[in-house]
Amino acid sequence: MNEHHHHGHDHSDLSETELRVRALETILTEKGYVEPAALDLLIETYETKVGPRNGARVVARAWTDSAYRARLLGDATPAIAELGYAGRQGEHIVALENTPELHNMVVCTLCSCYPWPVLGLPPVWYKSAPYRSKAVKDPRGVLRDFGFEIPATTKIRVWDSTAEIRYVVLPMRPEGTEGWSEERLADLVTRDSMIGTGLPKQPHEVG
């Protein structure tokens, strides 16, 4: 990086990668392959519309509606579409139920497969070498990296997303939430609890 750049000289502190991406977008636009407004809309969609709040609504619905829960666990793709979430990187979704006997965790050891319609784009750690290597061999070590443990007697099943099936974890409903509305319950559902690297928040952690 150039320490002596002048104000207004806007290329001086751009990295090689930034310049390369800027060059590509310029070329693609000049050639008419991409439309800048479409690019802006793609970014806006995944920054403001598609994210883990979608999945949290699915989980909260399953916690409060046993018929919905059965549909979700039976065939998750149409059940999730009932709430309006569908499409790219979620064409074939399977929901995995956590129980006191079984904890589920999702990984993609080969790249970054992740259920976009319900969780949005994957976080950096999900795509990182430490997670992709360790999740299938030492998942309890991964959970410790996230600051929690599950009992040694609880079976752990790690789902490696090697095809186009996308997995989402249905975590256990926290104790002390009897009578809570779906909306309030959704505030307890964290992104990581739907990947299996976290647990839902406890009632005292939300207002």
Binding site: R22, L24, K31, L41, L42
Partner: protein, 219 residues
């Protein structure tokens, strides 16, 4: 292919590092890299398996030195160069130097929502009965193709149990080579941790992979 992307079980000393309140993107260039990659799928005409192979098919040192979206960009450049859409000299110059190649369609802003909603379903009508059923014992074949495959190294040669039959899906090993979809039955196969990692493994660990029928043989 056997590459650095195939990370399951590879010893890695760094802990997993979660980032509180992580945003979808960490820099403006990541936003643009993401968007041009998605948008170019339409005029580019490649499929997801070709994209994955373009990203992973590189020397380990190169793969491991690039950030996630840097790999996306490297893959995109390769796919475009192979099809004559954007040449390396244009990337170096930062501007188009050659006439645009005619493309069948492009992504308009009006088309974004429909494109994302449509996605790319991979399930196809079965061409024959499934060879395996839930509960069957199977072994992941010992294969090391130089081309794209989705059978991770850490399960090859190991025995597991069919946990689910997922229908007939586009076969990546064929689709990535442009040799057609060649749909094959897809199974979720469960492996005991001890079978994969030996007797030092967590005895309460089970790992599943999704494996197409050609990856499996009876055990």
């Amino acid at each position: 292919m056997d590459g650095a992307h195939d990370m399951g079980g590879v010893p890695w000393t760094d802990p997993v590092q979660p980032e509180p309140n992580e945003p979808p993107f960490h820099a403006e260039w990541e936003r643009r890299a993401f968007a041009i990659t998605l948008a170019m799928g339409m005029p580019g005409g490649w499929n997801i398996d070709m994209s994955r192979f373009a990203r992973e098919n590189r020397p380990p040192a190169d793969y491991l030195s690039k950030s996630y979206f840097e790999i996306w960009i490297a893959g995109l450049e390769r796919l475009m160069a192979e099809r004559g859409l954007v040449a390396p000299d244009e990337v170096a110059a930062g501007h188009a130097l050659h006439p645009a190649k005619p493309v069948v369609r492009t992504l308009s802003a009006e088309g974004v929502a429909a494109m994302l909603h449509r996605g790319g379903p991979t399930e196809r009508a079965p061409t024959g009965p499934a060879r395996f059923a839930v509960g069957d014992r199977v072994r992941a074949r010992m294969i090391n193709p130089p081309t794209h495959t989705r059978l991770p190294r850490y399960v090859r040669g190991h025995a597991g149990t069919i946990a689910a039959v997922r229908g007939c899906h586009v076969f990546p090993d064929s689709n990535a080579r442009g040799a057609g979809e060649d749909p094959q039955w897809l199974y979720t196969v469960a492996f005991d941790g001890v079978e994969i990692w030996g007797k030092e493994s967590d005895p309460a660990l089970e790992i599943t992979v999704d494996a197409w029928e050609p990856y499996l043989e009876p055990a």
